[in-house]
């Protein structure tokens, strides 16, 4: 470890410790009478106002992984990586109205998870189970990615040991995280998110003003980027990318942005962030203000080209022995900033990993508790039982995420995240469309979900990645020529690429429509709808309704 790395480590540790103390203290913040209730532990008492919600959702959606992986994607493949910007531009306007409906109906009926809503809407614990399991499965690799971001920082600081124990610093950070999440629930990440955002804003603003000045302006940076991306890759003989989109990846760019935007609020952790807010007005204000982060994200993405211009090289991961492209931004900071400021930047990324990891594990724990434990294992669970069960589940989920990091190469974990996105998108008909219409039959939704998942997996399995020699799960861009529906190839030979999630969702919807028509013709039972149309616009809980319709069944 060099002298500069010692300074970085000391600054990092100081900020990290300060945040950990905040995490433990958070349980006293706006203290509830009884933290042993799932509404309190898992939704912070459902009373976060506009500011807290803004920081919470921002911490939730703009994660360490975003800060590390998006620039890394521009660094390695060019313009395609910028998809994150249109994705976050369109997401909030698109989801604002559905989220208001979800908030209202959840407030009236006491729903804690998206699966709770599906349970109430379709009177089907099985469909709710499918939604809950999908949410948990899609969330795990997402948490793992946060850890990948945190570990990229730790390895840049010089904590780059080899083998299993090379992950030890990560384990320590995670035990701390697990302890304060267990203790304080959603209040901990909500409070820490404020610190994280302040740090990130400072770092990005400095980086985006100071670095281009140092490197000759954006004109020179883009020239360097275009020149490097145009060089043929040694493994494929093709250029690695371009600073503009090509004829083949424009559709991929648009569908990936749209698919990611639609998936964003299907993830259980973003629903948790929304349901914890105190009013519809809070959500409206947040959907208006959250795109402010997109501006930050755009600047951040450009750091990928800045890294090219600065000649940054990814650090070789001590555990896998291969260069880890996730370390591009940390390595850029380490090379260009004074060491104390690099330490601040690393702390910002590291804390940026802990906030979403905490929220995600809480959301997954809520799903487990409400839709699996209480539904199938212990129907008479008291609110205190639920809270205890959720706390334990949050620990299990985190251990699972750590295992991901230890077992799979971090490069591969990025692909897991893409798979997670394709998976969660398949819950769109049952969760988002259901907010507007109950036209689909519940078993048709289940059939569409299954087809979307299986088909999505088959397509992902078939995508190779020539750049690293992998045969399967090499990314989420499907060449239309490779689209094969039982031997029928409608776009034979085409090299135009599209996002797998979008294709699978179309299949999902088609199946859901057809099966609905069949089931309706055969008069299959539809189940009762526990929600009423007025519930979707409710601004408060009507007194005549049972606040917890799900648990009172």
């Amino acid at each position: 470890m060099t002298g500069a790395q010692v300074v970085q480590l000391v600054v990092f540790l100081l900020l990290f410790l300060a945040v950990a103390v905040m995490g433990f203290m958070a349980s006293r913040w706006r203290r509830a009478d009884d933290l042993n209730h799932l509404d309190e532990w898992g939704l912070g008492g459902r009373k976060f106002g506009s500011w807290v919600t803004w920081f919470l959702l921002g911490g939730d959606l703009y994660t360490a992984y975003t800060f590390v992986a998006i620039p890394a994607l521009l660094f390695s493949s060019g313009a395609l990586g910028f998809y994150a910007v249109p994705y976050t531009i369109i997401a909030f306007p698109l989801v604002m109205l559905p989220l208001l409906r979800l908030w209202s109906v959840s407030r009236v009926h006491g729903y804690v998870t998206p699966a709770d809503f599906v349970r109430g809407r379709y009177d089907s614990p099985v469909l709710a189970l499918a939604i809950a399991v999908t949410g948990i499965v899609a969330t795990m690799p997402y948490i793992a990615l946060q850890l990948a971001g945190l570990e990229a920082v730790l390895r840049t600081i010089g904590l780059n040991g080899s083998g299993f124990w090379g992950h030890a610093p990560l384990f320590v950070a995670f035990v701390v995280l697990a302890a304060y999440t267990y203790q304080s629930g959603l209040r901990a990440p909500a409070l820490i998110a404020v610190v994280k955002d302040v740090l990130i804003y400072i770092v990005i603003l400095v980086a985006i003003i100071y670095l281009p000045l140092k490197l000759g302006g954006f004109g020179a940076i883009f020239d360097a980027g275009s020149a490097k991306l145009a060089q043929p890759s040694p493994t494929t003989g093709q250029p690695a990318g371009s600073t503009l989109l090509t004829a083949n990846n424009q559709l991929q760019y648009a569908t990936l942005a749209l698919g990611s935007a639609l998936a964003l609020f299907l993830y259980p952790h973003s629903v948790t962030g929304v349901l914890s807010s105190s009013s519809r007005a809070t959500i409206r204000r947040n959907m208006t203000a959250l795109p402010a982060y997109s501006f930050l994200l755009a600047l951040l993405a450009l750091l990928g080209y800045v890294a090219i211009a600065a000649g940054t090289k990814p650090i070789v991961n001590g555990s896998t022995g291969r260069p880890d492209s996730n370390t591009i931004v940390p390595a850029l900071f380490a090379g260009q900033f004074p060491s104390w400021f690099a330490g601040v930047a690393f702390a910002a990324i590291g804390i940026g990993a802990l906030v979403p990891a905490a929220i995600m594990s809480i959301a997954a724990a809520n799903l487990w508790t409400r839709n699996i434990y209480k539904e199938f294992l212990r129907r008479d669970a008291s609110p205190a039982d639920e809270a205890r069960q959720a706390k334990l589940a949050s620990l299990v989920v985190k251990v699972g995420a750590v295992l991901f990091i230890v077992v799979v190469d971090p490069q591969f974990s990025v692909d897991l995240q893409l798979i997670g996105g394709v998976i969660i998108l398949q819950t769109l008909p049952a969760v988002a469309i259901a907010l507007y219409t109950r036209w689909f039959h519940r078993w048709a939704l289940l059939a569409g979900w299954a087809v979307g998942l299986i088909w999505g997996m088959i397509m992902l399995y078939g995508i190779p990645n020539p750049a690293n020699g992998k045969q399967h799960f090499g990314g989420s861009a499907l060449a239309l020529g490779g689209l094969d529906i039982f031997g029928w190839t409608p776009f034979g030979g085409s090299k135009v690429q599209i996002y797998v999630g979008a294709v699978a969702l179309v299949g999902n919807l088609l199946v859901a429509v057809v099966v609905t028509l069949v089931l309706r013709a055969t008069k299959t039972r539809e189940g009762a709808d526990h929600t009423r149309s007025g519930d979707y616009h409710a601004t408060r809980v009507p007194e005549s309704t049972t606040p917890d319709a799900v648990s009172s069944v």
Partner: protein
């Protein structure tokens, strides 16, 4: 809202509203989708402070999107202000 089947306010918690309320203002929320139409902006020139058009155009759509969402929020927020949440 200018629906012809407008119900008078009744303190009844049962559904008095239609389940779907359409407002032309809400269409503004679709404006940011322009950032998905890549052929419109997938060019290098004109550049702005060294940034190719592809990049600064999409950055420009961010404030446009915020203005559209803000407009919808401001013109429809009264719906939520009956009663105190």
């Amino acid at each position: 809202m200018s629906s012809s089947t407008l119900e008078p306010e009744t303190p009844d918690p049962a559904p008095a509203q239609p389940s779907f309320r359409f407002r032309a203002w809400n269409l503004l929320l679709l404006v940011p989708l322009v950032s998905l139409i890549t052929p419109l902006f997938n060019v290098r020139e004109p550049t702005l402070v060294g940034l190719p058009f592809f990049y600064w155009f999409q950055i420009l759509v961010i404030p446009i999107g915020i203005i559209c969402t803000l407009t919808v929020h401001l013109v429809t927020r009264h719906d939520d202000e009956e009663g105190h949440r």
